[in-house]
C-alpha cells in the first residue's frame, strides 16, 4: 500500500483539471444558487415581517430615540451596503437599517468561513475523485509506453480505491499471455534443432491472429 501511495495530487494535470472543471463548476453553481436562495429568502422574509408588523414596537421606539438624536446631530448619509440588496429595507429607518446591517454582517461573516470550508472540501473532493480516474489512465498510458518500447513484462498496478480494476485485471491477463507467448518464442529461437524449433514456433503462432493473416 505504502509503495502505491502517490506522491503527486496531479498525475495527469490537463485531464484532472478538465475533470475538476466538469465536476466543480456545476456543483459550485448548484451550491451557490441554493445558498443564495436560502440566504436571500430568509432575510427577505425577516425584513418583510419586520417592515409590516407592529408587534416589534419596542424596536421601533428604540430606533426612534436614536433617530431623534441623529436628526439633531445629522450624520453623513449611508453608502452602499449589504442591505442595499434588499428592497424591503427601503422603508426601514436609519437606525433599523443599522441594526439589521449589524445582524447581516454577522451572518455574512459566519457564512463566509462555512462557505470557504465548503469550497475547500469541494476542491479536495474533486481532486480525490479525479485522482481515482486519472491515476488508472496514467498507469495504462505508462504500460502502453513500455509495450511500445518492447517491455512486455509491464503490468498495470492500481491502488485499492482506483477506478478500473476489472479492466486492469483483463489487461494484465492479456499482457501475461502475450508475454508468455513471446517468451516461449524467444526461448525456441535458442534451440539447436532449427527445424523442430520452427515447427514449434509455427504451432505457437497458429493460434495468433494478426494483420499478416489474409
Amino acid at each position: 500500500m505504502v509503495q502505491n501511495r502517490r506522491k503527486h495530487f496531479f498525475i495527469n494535470k490537463p485531464l484532472q483539471i478538465r475533470f475538476m472543471i466538469a465536476v466543480i463548476v456545476p456543483l459550485f453553481l448548484i451550491n451557490l444558487v441554493a445558498l443564495a436562495g436560502v440566504y436571500f429568502g430568509i432575510w427577505s422574509k425577516v425584513l418583510e415581517t419586520f417592515s409590516n408588523e407592529q408587534t416589534l414596537n419596542d424596536l421601533v421606539t428604540a430606533s426612534r430615540m436614536v433617530e431623534y438624536e441623529q436628526a439633531r446631530h445629522p450624520v453623513a448619509s449611508q453608502n452602499f451596503s449589504s442591505l442595499s440588496f434588499f428592497m424591503q429595507t427601503e422603508k426601514l429607518s436609519q437606525r433599523q437599517r443599522e441594526v439589521f446591517k449589524g445582524i447581516l454582517n454577522e451572518t455574512n461573516r459566519s457564512l463566509l468561513w462555512k462557505f470557504s470550508l465548503l469550497l475547500f472540501f469541494l476542491g479536495w473532493g474533486t481532486i480525490f475523485i479525479s485522482h481515482k480516474v486519472a491515476g488508472p489512465f496514467f498507469r495504462f498510458s505508462k504500460a502502453f509506453h513500455e509495450i511500445e518500447k518492447g517491455n512486455y513484462r509491464s503490468r498495470v498496478t492500481l491502488r485499492k480505491l482506483d477506478e478500473g480494476h476489472p479492466v486492469a485485471q483483463e489487461f494484465n491477463e492479456a499482457m501475461k499471455k502475450t508475454d508468455h507467448l513471446l517468451s516461449d518464442l524467444k526461448t525456441l529461437t535458442l534451440e539447436k534443432d532449427a527445424p523442430q524449433a520452427v515447427a514449434k514456433i509455427k504451432e505457437k503462432l497458429s493460434t495468433v491472429q494478426t494483420s499478416a493473416d489474409a
Binding site: T61, R64, Q70, A71, H73, E90
Partner: protein, 425 residues
C-alpha cells in the same frame, strides 16, 4: 398749535413704534377660516386622547408603545389652556388636566437639577430609554406651563408653573462653558453638544436668561452663532438642518415681530426661511411628485426611512420627496398666503390618506406612496399654537410676552431697546 401737533405726532410715532407690526396682510376666505378652525380643534384632540388620565404625561407619538415626551407634555399644558378658553373642553376640566400634569411634573417626573428627562414613562414619570435630561425639551415644557399660568393667574396652576420654572438650574446646564448644554445623562454626564448656533434654541435661552432663580449670563444670548446664508435671494440666519420647525418653535410662544437682535428680526428671518424652504422643494418638483407650489414643507418628521431632519436651503437641504404638513401649517404666521393654499391642497386632495381624528398625520411621500400612520406630539403642539396665534388674535404671544421672565430677558439682552432705536431710524 404747532407744539400740540408735534406732541400728537410724537405720541402716534411712539405708539406705532412699540406696538407689534401686524401679521403679513392676507385675509383667508370664510371657508378657509372654517377649515383652519377645524384643523386646530382636531389637532387639540391629540392631547386629550394621548395624555395619561392619571399623570397627564403626553405620549411622544400616537404609535403603540410610545413613551411620553416632556416637550409634548408642555405643548399639552398649553393646549388644555387654549382648549378651555376656546370652549372645546369645559374650563373646569381644562384646569384639572393642567393641574394634574403640573403636579406630576413637579412631584413625580424624573429630573436632574430641574431638567426633565426627554422621555418618561407615561404611568410613573420615570426616565425611559436611557434618555437625557434635556434642556430644550425642559424649556418647551416650562414654556407650556408658564403660558397656562397666564391663563389661570393667581391659581395653583400659576404656583406650580413658577415652582417648576424656578427649580431649573439653567446655569448648571452650561457646564462652565459659554453655551447651554443639550443634555445630561447619569451614564455619560454632560452631552458633547451645546446650543451654540441658531435653531430652536431661542425659547431655551430666553427662559434661561429670564430666570429669577438660576439665570444664565445675558451674554449667553449674544454668543450663539448666527450663520447667514442665501437661497434664491432669501437671506436667512439659518439652522444647520434647514428644517422648518427650527424657525417655528420659539415663535410659538415669543412674538419676535418687534424684537431687533443685532440688526436681525427673527420673525422676518423665519418668513424668509419659509419662502426659501418652499422654493427649495419646488426646485425638485420635476423629480418628486409631491412638490409643487401648493405642496411643500420640509421639516424634521417621520418618513419612509424613519425620522429624519428634512430641510431646505440654506442648511442641510435633506429631502427625499417627504412633506410634513405640520410644518406648512405652522408657517401660517409667516407665510399665510402660501400656507393656507397648501393646507387647502392637502385637505382637498389627500384627506383620505393624510387627515385623521387628530388633524393632519405627520408626513407623506408620493414618490414612495407612503403615508404616515402616526401623529407626533411636538408637531401637533406647534401646529396648535401657531394656528391659535393666527386665528385667535395672537393670544398666545400676547399672554407669553407679558411674563416677567420674558420681559427680563428682553431687558437684559437689549432687544427692545434696539427695536426702539431701529424704529426711530
Amino acid at each position: 398749535m404747532l407744539k400740540r401737533l408735534i406732541c400728537f405726532l410724537s405720541v402716534l410715532f411712539i405708539v406705532f413704534s412699540f406696538s407689534p407690526s401686524p401679521l403679513p396682510a392676507f385675509e383667508p376666505s370664510p371657508e378657509d377660516r372654517v377649515l383652519l378652525n377645524k384643523i386646530e380643534k382636531d389637532t387639540f384632540q391629540y392631547f386629550t386622547r394621548f395624555s395619561d388620565k392619571i399623570t397627564g404625561l403626553t405620549k411622544d407619538s400616537s404609535r403603540t408603545g410610545s413613551p411620553s415626551s416632556v416637550a409634548a407634555t408642555g405643548f399639552a399644558i398649553a393646549a388644555y389652556a387654549i382648549g378651555g378658553s376656546r370652549g372645546w373642553i369645559a374650563q373646569d376640566y381644562a384646569y384639572a388636566r393642567i393641574l394634574t400634569t403640573l403636579q406630576t411634573l413637579r412631584h413625580k417626573a424624573a429630573h436632574k437639577q430641574g431638567f426633565f428627562y426627554h422621555f418618561l414613562d407615561v404611568r410613573t414619570g420615570n426616565r425611559v430609554w436611557g434618555s437625557e435630561a434635556s434642556s430644550i425639551d425642559t424649556a418647551l415644557a416650562v414654556a407650556g406651563a408658564l403660558l397656562a399660568a397666564r391663563y389661570y393667574p393667581g391659581t395653583e396652576v400659576e404656583k406650580l408653573a413658577r415652582e417648576i420654572y424656578g427649580r431649573v438650574r439653567w446655569k448648571w446646564m452650561m457646564n462652565n462653558s459659554d453655551f447651554i448644554c443639550m443634555g445630561w445623562t447619569p451614564e455619560s454626564k454632560f452631552l458633547p453638544y451645546y446650543w451654540d448656533s441658531y435653531n430652536e434654541l431661542m425659547i431655551l435661552v430666553a427662559l434661561a436668561v429670564g430666570s429669577s432663580t438660576s439665570p444664565v449670563p445675558p451674554k449667553t444670548w449674544e454668543r450663539w452663532l448666527r450663520p447667514e446664508g442665501n437661497y434664491n435671494n432669501h437671506r436667512v440666519i439659518y439652522a444647520s438642518t434647514g428644517s422648518l420647525f427650527t424657525y417655528q418653535f420659539s415663535h410659538a410662544y415669543i412674538d419676535f415681530r418687534k424684537l431687533d437682535d443685532q440688526g436681525i428680526n427673527f420673525f422676518e428671518n423665519s418668513r424668509e426661511a419659509t419662502l426659501a424652504n418652499r422654493e427649495y422643494s419646488m426646485s425638485f418638483s420635476s423629480q418628486c411628485k409631491g412638490y409643487s407650489e401648493s405642496s411643500w414643507g420640509l421639516s424634521a418628521s417621520v418618513g419612509p426611512g424613519g425620522y429624519k431632519a428634512y430641510g431646505g436651503k440654506p442648511g442641510g437641504g435633506l429631502q427625499d420627496g417627504t412633506i410634513a404638513p405640520y410644518a406648512t401649517l405652522s408657517s401660517i404666521v409667516f407665510t399665510p398666503e402660501f400656507s393656507i393654499k397648501a393646507i387647502r391642497f392637502f385637505y382637498d386632495n389627500y384627506q383620505k390618506e393624510l387627515y385623521g381624528n387628530f388633524g393632519f398625520k405627520d408626513a407623506f411621500n408620493l414618490d414612495k406612496q407612503w403615508w404616515a400612520s402616526e401623529y407626533l406630539g411636538i408637531d401637533q403642539g406647534i401646529t396648535l399654537l401657531m394656528l391659535e396665534n393666527y386665528l385667535n388674535g395672537e393670544v398666545v404671544w400676547k399672554k407669553f410676552m407679558e411674563l416677567p421672565a420674558i420681559k427680563k430677558w428682553i431687558g437684559l439682552t437689549g432687544l427692545e431697546r434696539r427695536s426702539a432705536s431701529t424704529a426711530k431710524n
